[in-house]
């Protein structure tokens, strides 16, 4: 990391739009996810036939192609599978630069794309234990991020 810290970094661009809020139910019924999030609970889909978890939400079970799915609360605990320190922002995130995006592997066996919060890039290690934390993006939306456990 010390080597990387010496490298020049991109300067943040001007912010043109607000940070995007999730558009609930944009492609399928995800209301249970956001309702749970509002109460500080992380839920993911499970296939009731095979017991297999999946994320992001899908209209069918990835295990057997059926629609016999349910939402179950998970521990919110996992480990960092990979991460990247973002200097070139996605539109609406310019004022957060540099920010950490990660794939966190939940103990239940799925990976979730998320922000790592309350930690610096140089302190993140792959395999590091993390736990869910919530960013309040609006009155209705809590968004799951992860922080060191």
């Amino acid at each position: 990391m010390s080597e990387a810290a010496k490298k020049p970094e991109l300067k943040p661009e001007a912010k043109k739009i607000p940070r995007p809020l999730p558009r609930v139910n944009a492609y399928m019924d995800t209301k249970p996810f956001w309702a749970a999030a509002k109460n500080g609970k992380l839920v993911i889909q499970y296939c009731k036939d095979t017991g297999k978890p999946q994320f992001f939400p899908r209209p069918v079970s990835l295990a057997n192609g059926k629609r016999n799915l349910e939402w179950r609360e998970v521990s919110g605990r996992g480990t960092v599978y990979s991460f990247t320190n973002t200097y070139s922002a996605w539109p609406g995130h310019e004022d957060r630069v540099p920010y950490l995006v990660a794939l966190v592997e939940l103990d239940e066996g799925v990976r979730i794309l998320c922000n790592l919060l309350n930690v610096r890039n140089e302190d993140v290690k792959i395999g590091m234990p993390v736990k869910v934390c919530w960013e309040k993006l609006s009155d209705d939306i809590n968004y799951p991020g992860f922080e060191p456990a």
């Binding site: 490298k7 999946q54 990660a102 979730i112």
Partner: protein, 390 residues
């Protein structure tokens, strides 16, 4: 399927790659079409099929392919729209070959054209609004940042190999008049290693620059090519394709790509091993993709890609010439016509028309494609095409 030479590529065309050139995808495609007519000397009326890549610039028009047929004045017995992103070029050849073999048409214009840098960004929708945009992953750049970090964790990565790839491709682009002018400046390994991070550990010079451009090839049966008196012809002899490798396995290793399936399949069909490959034009949206592609196709063991790159002469004069027109990273990425850039260079080399960067004894060529960025894995589509002389 055993090796066959019943299908022939008899012509190719390519525009110069430009940054925000302002010309439409139709106009760029027209230039390619006219080049192919001129080069082959064929009567355009014999073209009865079109296999065209989806675009970023015209994607809001669901009739893009049909409009193109009308624009070019081509009545078609068969039309195929390929939505495989950067894999659409060689995927388009495979589909054209199948259609010709099935008697649906005889002569197919395989076309890709995209004025992405002159157009407004498009929207891919699906889960992105809820589970990607609020996080701020920076599109393909962010996804390859995650992939690079994981790769380094599992195998280590000697950055000198990335620097060598960057410099080798750039030196090729300097000899390619069709490369984007902005990129036709010399590059050193130090400059690569000092390049700014965009999504650490991914650097600016690991990445393509989105541009405008078009390219295409003309495909027909070998029998028809002979009847037409084709001046030159080469043959697709092996093909493999994989879309969304292991997308039903939530914990699949993200460093392993669909090339582990598509590569061996194409080689087996061609009756070849990686040692028989004379040159390779691998799809290069990011330099790390080249390392993973070479490993997964089987040029070297997993995790040894950097070592392979450092120990192999990849220049146009070398033992395994790679992306001799500069690749997309050093010639510019003409949007979703990007895959065609690697493809057309392979055809050009095999026709012996690559000028000062001509590879000696261009007996065969491997071309690869990569398309679309999935959620939390490497890339969505991997495909491999092997071309051989008659």
């Amino acid at each position: 399927m055993p090796k066959r030479k019943d299908i022939a590529i008899i012509g190719y065309g390519e525009t110069k790659v430009t940054l925000r050139g302002g010309r439409s995808s139709y106009d760029l495609a027209g230039e390619v079409f006219a080049q192919i007519v001129e080069q082959t000397g064929i009567d355009p009326k014999i073209i009865d099929g079109m296999s065209i890549a989806e675009t970023m610039s015209e994607t809001s028009n669901p009739f893009w392919g049909v409009y193109m047929s009308e624009m070019l004045g081509l009545p078609l017995a068969w039309m195929q729209l390929n939505g495989l992103g950067g894999a659409s070029g060689i995927g388009g050849i495979a589909r054209a070959a199948a259609a010709i073999r099935d008697g649906l048409c005889e002569t197919v214009l395989v076309l890709a054209s995209d004025a992405q840098s002159s157009s407004k960004p498009t929207e891919q929708g699906a889960q992105r609004y809820e589970f990607m945009y609020p996080v701020g992953l920076r599109g393909p750049v962010g996804a390859f940042g995650l992939l690079s970090q994981r790769y380094r964790h599992q195998y280590g990565l000697d950055e000198r190999a990335l620097a060598k790839l960057a410099v080798t491709q750039r030196s090729h682009a300097l000899m390619n008049p069709n490369a984007c002018d902005k990129l036709r400046v010399p590059l050193t390994e130090e400059e690569y290693l000092n390049s700014k991070y965009v999504s650490e550990p991914l650097r600016m010079l690991d990445s393509v620059m989105v541009c405008d451009g078009a390219n295409g090839v003309l495909v027909t049966s070998t029998e028809n090519a002979k009847k037409l008196g084709a001046k030159k012809m080469i043959h697709p002899i092996g093909y493999g394709e994989m879309t969304n490798f292991k997308c039903n396995e939530p914990l699949a290793d993200s460093t392993v790509s669909g090339f582990t399936v598509a590569g061996p399949k194409a080689l087996k069909q061609a009756g070849m091993t990686t040692k028989d490959v004379r040159m390779i034009m691998p799809y290069d949206d990011f330099l790390i993709a080249l390392i993973i592609t070479l490993e997964d196709i089987g040029f070297c063991p997993k995790g040894k890609g950097a070592e392979f790159v450092l120990n192999t002469d990849l220049s146009y004069k070398g033992t395994l010439p790679l992306n001799t027109s500069g690749g997309q990273i050093s010639a510019g990425q003409p949007g979703l016509a990007g895959g065609g850039l690697n493809l057309v260079e392979g055809v050009r080399q095999m026709f012996g028309e690559a000028g000062e960067r001509q590879v000696s004894d261009p007996r065969n060529c491997m071309v690869t494609g990569i398309g679309a960025i999935p959620y939390g894995r490497n890339w969505a589509v991997s495909n491999v095409l092997i071309l051989e002389q008659s």
